[in-house]
Amino acid sequence: MTGYVARDRRWQPDALTPAYKSSLKRSPQAALISFPTTISEETGPVFGHDILGPLDADLIHNFAADGASAIGPRIIVHGRVLDEFGRPVPNALVEVWQANAGGRYRHRKESYLAPLDPNFGGCGRFLTGEDGSYEFRTIQPGPYPWPNGPNDWRPAHIHFSVFGAAFAQRLITQMYFEGDPMIPLCPIVGVLNAKEAVEALVASLDMTRTVPMDARAYKFDIVLRGRRQTAFENRPEGM
C-alpha cells in the first residue's frame, strides 16, 4: 500500500506565531510525533450529491428572501481541487464561509458595527466534479477589524474547508483577492513563512469566466496532499 506524501512543515505555518496572539496559548509545544500514514489516515468520509440543496453553491440567494439577493459586488469563484501530483480530486466536499460586503459575519459573538445584510447568511458548499473543478457564486466580502494588535484588519477573504479522498488530505484555509493592499499587513497571512505560500492563497481575477453585466470571476485552485505511487515496495503488505 502506498501512503500520502508527508506534509512540508516548513511550508505550512508553525503552531506558535506570536504576532497572531491567539496562537500563543493554543499551540502545542512538544514535537509532533511522525508516522507514515496508515489506513486510518488513508480513508475518509465520502459525501454524495444527496446532501446538497439547489442553492448551496449560491451565497447570493441561499439565505435571501424570495426574489431578493445579497448586497455587494457579485462574483463567481471557480477553480480545481488537485493533489500534489496535479491529479484532480473528484467528489471533494468543500464548505465555504465569509463575512458580508460590509465585513460583518452573521454570528452571535460578532460585534463589528457594520450592519448585517438581511439577505446574506454567509455559508455555502459543493462537491468537485470528475475533473476536480468547482464553482460557486457569492458577493465579495469586505475587510474587517479584529482584536489582535491595536489596529489589525483582515483582508477580504473567504474561508474554505476541504475533504479530499482521505482524512490525511483534510485542510482548512482562506482565499484572498488579487491586488488587495491589506494582505501583507495581516498577522494571520503573516504566519506563512514563504512569499510563495501567500501567493498560493491569492485568487486571480479571471475575466474569461466573468459573466457580462452580472458577475466578475476569480480563480482559486486548491492543492491537497498527494498519494505516492511507486512500483517498488520493499515491505510485505498487511492490508
Binding site: 496559548k25 489506513i39 486510518s40 468520509p45 464561509w97 492563497l201
Partner: protein, 201 residues
C-alpha cells in the same frame, strides 16, 4: 542548479478562525434555513453492529481554559475494524463525526461505536482508536491526534504507534477513560504539563 520539479505544493493552511461554525455547523451557529441539518452530528443512521459508546471531552488551552470556538472531527472504523466505504462495512455507521462543542462549556460529544482493530502497514494490528482533528481560532493548521482506550491495555501495549513514542510518560494523554458503562472521557490539552500528543502523519 538542477531540473525543476513539477509537483504542486499543498495549499497552505490558515486558521479556521472564530466563525468556523458558520461554515461547518451553521444550524448550531443559529444560521438556520440554509442546510436542513449540520453534517456529522449523526454517526449511526440505523441499527449498528457492536458496542455503542458515548465519547465526551473538552479542549483546553495552555491556561486551562476550555475552547468554546473549536470544531472537532473524528474518523474511525466500525465495530468490526472496517472503515466506512470499504467492502463489508457496517451500512448504518458513517465513521465520521463533527462537533462544535457545547455553546456554554465547549464540551464535545459523539454518539458512536467502539471501533475494532485495523491493520498497520506491516501487517501488525493497531489498537482500537479514533482519529481526532481539531481546528479553532489560534490554531494555524488542524491538529491531528488519536484517542485510544484505557481499557485496551493489552492491545495498546503492542500498538505499533503507541509503542514507538519516545516519552512513554505522555501516552496516557491519548487514552480515553471509561466513566461508566459505555461512556468514555477524552480531554485534549493543547499546551501545558498534560499536553496531548499530536501527530504528523
Amino acid at each position: 542548479m538542477a531540473q525543476k520539479l513539477t509537483h504542486l505544493r499543498e495549499s497552505p493552511s490558515q486558521t479556521a478562525g472564530p466563525y468556523v461554525h458558520i461554515g461547518c455547523t451553521p444550524n448550531f451557529a443559529e444560521l438556520n434555513g440554509v442546510y436542513p441539518q449540520d453534517l456529522g452530528n449523526v454517526m449511526k443512521t440505523g441499527v449498528v453492529q457492536g458496542r455503542e459508546i458515548t465519547v465526551t471531552g473538552t479542549v483546553f488551552d495552555g491556561t486551562g481554559t476550555p475552547l468554546r470556538d473549536a470544531m472537532i472531527e473524528i474518523w474511525q472504523a466500525d465495530a468490526a475494524g472496517v472503515y466506512p466505504g470499504q467492502a463489508g462495512c457496517d451500512p448504518n455507521f458513517t465513521g465520521w463525526g463533527r462537533s462544535a462543542g457545547d455553546m456554554e462549556t465547549g464540551e464535545f460529544r459523539f454518539e458512536t461505536v467502539k471501533p475494532g482493530q485495523v491493520g498497520f502497514r506491516d501487517g501488525r494490528m493497531q489498537a482500537p482508536h479514533v482519529t481526532f482533528w481539531i481546528v479553532a481560532r489560534g490554531i494555524n493548521i488542524g491538529l491531528h491526534t488519536r484517542m485510544y482506550f484505557e481499557d485496551e491495555a493489552k492491545a495498546n501495549a503492542i500498538d505499533p504507534i503507541l509503542s514507538r513514542i519516545e516519552h512513554q510518560v505522555r501516552v496516557p494523554t491519548l487514552l480515553a477513560k471509561a466513566q461508566s458503562d459505555g461512556h468514555y472521557r477524552f480531554d485534549i490539552h493543547l499546551q501545558g504539563p498534560q499536553e496531548t500528543i499530536f501527530f504528523d502523519s
